[in-house]
């Protein structure tokens, strides 16, 4: 039998039980009945049983703390009743409950401010919205003691992953030039870049590059049992792909620093997004490169590189309009060099001795 909130059970030296409420500073011998729920204290079950409607978003901060939190954090949760049900389950998952309270966090209205903020690495709008929401959370109670920085980070990261399966599939289709380019998806990619695509394309690429390199060696070795796997291809692929993907925006940012160009003019999220998706052709290319014919491999690699560069040209380069010439060149060259490096190093380093 669980005690109502804020009640604790103690035992005297004689073994008698008594109950103490820390919030009301009340002690009694009788077990408190479960319907004595104090209004002033905030606890998880209060927050999660509240079912808001869209109209509640406009309600100004009322006195009850639980109401305040709900306005900000449940957002338009009226359409997600199942989420509320599942949240009651695990009182032991401290981390998850603070994570989940920010899950349906931002009311949809403020999402465009995060995504429309093309502003550089500052993510200024996101910070403002997230910090406002997160500081209200910590103003709440013990539950808000989860650091505001991490809740802000969670909100921000969720906005970057706010895509559906269809969105990702359509964006990947942008890489194939033959059927006419999907203009609306390209627009969407520009205004609402996501990080799901780049990250998972990059990770898949790392695994496939290392795997196919090893398979190629397996095929070429005189006998399967003589084959020794080269595990070092994995760290190599990882540093190449992840390193490149991180280096390009850093390079761009540093270059911008040396001019007096406005940082807000450059959309770093979009750079990362496009570079990430641009790595996608390396995956089918890597599968094809298992075929142990030297010049065919070059053919495939160059074909993949061409697709990749075409994608980047279409989605990234046309938007770069900065005044300083060398900065413009840098911003164009960096993603291009990344793709070239990935494909070339893959071709040259990952295959040991192929027959021509």
């Amino acid at each position: 039998m669980a005690l109502p909130p804020n009640w604790e059970r103690y035992t005297t030296e004689d073994g008698k039980e008594y109950f103490h409420n820390a919030a009301l500073n009340k002690t009694q011998w009788e077990r408190p009945s479960c319907d004595e729920v104090p209004l002033a204290s905030l606890n998880t079950s209060d927050v999660f049983t509240y079912k808001p409607s869209a109209a509640d978003l406009e309600v100004p901060r009322s006195t009850a703390k639980s109401q305040e939190l709900d306005d900000l954090f449940m957002g338009v949760a009226a359409s997600e009743p199942t989420e509320l049900v599942s949240l009651k389950e695990g009182p032991g998952d401290e981390l998850s409950s603070s994570g989940r309270s920010t899950n349906s966090a931002l009311p949809k209205a403020s999402l465009p401010t995060l995504q429309g903020a093309g502003g550089g690495l500052g993510f200024a709008a996101g910070f403002a919205a997230g910090a406002a929401a997160a500081s209200a959370a910590s103003g709440g109670d013990g539950q808000g003691s989860a650091p505001t920085f991490s809740s802000w980070l969670l909100l921000l990261a969720q906005s970057l992953f706010d895509v559906s399966t269809d969105d990702v599939v359509r964006r990947l289709k942008l890489l194939v030039p033959y059927p006419a380019q999907d203009r609306s998806t390209a627009e969407e990619l520009r205004t609402r870049p996501d990080f799901y695509g780049p990250f998972w394309v990059a990770t898949t690429a790392v695994l496939f590059l290392a795997a196919t390199g090893n398979f190629a060696r397996l095929i070429e070795s005189p006998h399967p049992s003589l084959f020794k796997a080269d595990y070092s291809l994995v760290p190599l692929a990882a540093s190449l792909v992840y390193g490149g993907l991180i280096a390009v925006p850093i390079l761009a940012r540093v270059s911008v620093f040396f001019t007096d160009e406005e940082v807000a003019n450059i959309d770093f999220k979009k750079i990362i997004c496009v570079c990430g998706y641009g790595l996608a052709p390396s995956i089918p290319v890597s599968i094809l490169c298992i075929i142990p014919v030297g010049f065919l491999r070059w053919l495939f690699v160059l074909g993949g590189l061409a697709l990749s560069l075409y994608f980047i040209k279409g989605n990234l380069l046309e938007d770069i309009s900065v005044k300083v010439r060398w900065l413009q060149l840098t911003l164009i060259a960096a993603p291009v060099i990344l793709q070239v490096l990935v494909f070339f190093i893959y071709r040259v380093r990952f295959f040991a001795g192929d027959r021509d």
């Binding site: 032991g92 998850s96 994570g99 559906s164 998972w200 049992s225 796997a229 595990y231």
Partner: protein, 203 residues
């Protein structure tokens, strides 16, 4: 104040390092576990591990749709991961790299898959041990492929292990994600098992 309360917490175990939600231990409520003999603590943990393994291995025995895996502990996954790492690095030329790679892929991979689900607004708690236990079929496959050296049998065993493990995990994961993103959350799980299966195959 004058009284010295003896603090009793019905929701948490005293001495075995495991935190379990109160719903699962109604039978032990109020009992202080510091006093019980060590063998009993160990047996309880072993039984719990066994129960979870059985849960993962036998999808048909699953009446409660993922409930059983909600209690988390990290011992089982750690043991499985160590076993896998040792088996895969035994005959490898770059043994330490292989072992390290297995460890990193299993732990970091599980973490990333979980974070991915969280960021996609799935209802997942960070310390799900589900994925840790779900590599058990692949561990068995690795063991079998270690014993045999016939490449076709290896491929078959690994494929069976992979299908089994993926099936268990994918079901679990897709229940936790919103409708329009199920594939986005499930794909990393699939990739994770592909990576492990690949590691087993090339060893």
């Amino acid at each position: 104040m004058a009284y010295e309360p003896t603090y009793q917490s019905p929701q948490f175990h005293g001495g075995d390092g495991m935190v379990t939600p109160s719903g699962s231990i109604e039978s032990q409520q109020g009992r202080c576990t510091l006093d019980e003999p060590v063998t009993e603590t160990i047996m309880r943990d072993l039984r719990s591990i066994g129960m979870k393994l059985k849960y993962v291995m036998l999808p048909r025995a699953r009446e409660d749709k993922g409930q059983g895996l909600r209690e988390w502990d990290l011992w089982g996954p750690l043991v499985l991961c160590l076993a896998l790492g040792i088996m895969l690095s035994m005959h490898a030329e770059q043994a330490s790299l292989a072992f390290g790679l297995v460890f990193i892929i299993v732990w970091v991979g599980s973490g990333i898959v979980t974070i991915n689900a969280l960021l996609l607004k799935g209802k997942i708690s960070f310390f799900q041990s589900a994925r840790g236990y779900c590599i058990f079929p692949l561990v068995i496959a690795a063991f079998c492929s270690l014993m045999l050296n016939v490449i076709w049998l290896k491929v078959i065993f690994v494929t069976i292990g992979f299908t089994w493990a993926t099936g268990a995990s994918v079901n679990f994961m897709s229940e936790l994600l919103p409708e329009d993103r199920k594939a986005l959350g499930v794909y990393p799980v699939w990739l994770f098992y592909v990576a492990i299966a690949w590691l087993i195959l090339i060893s």
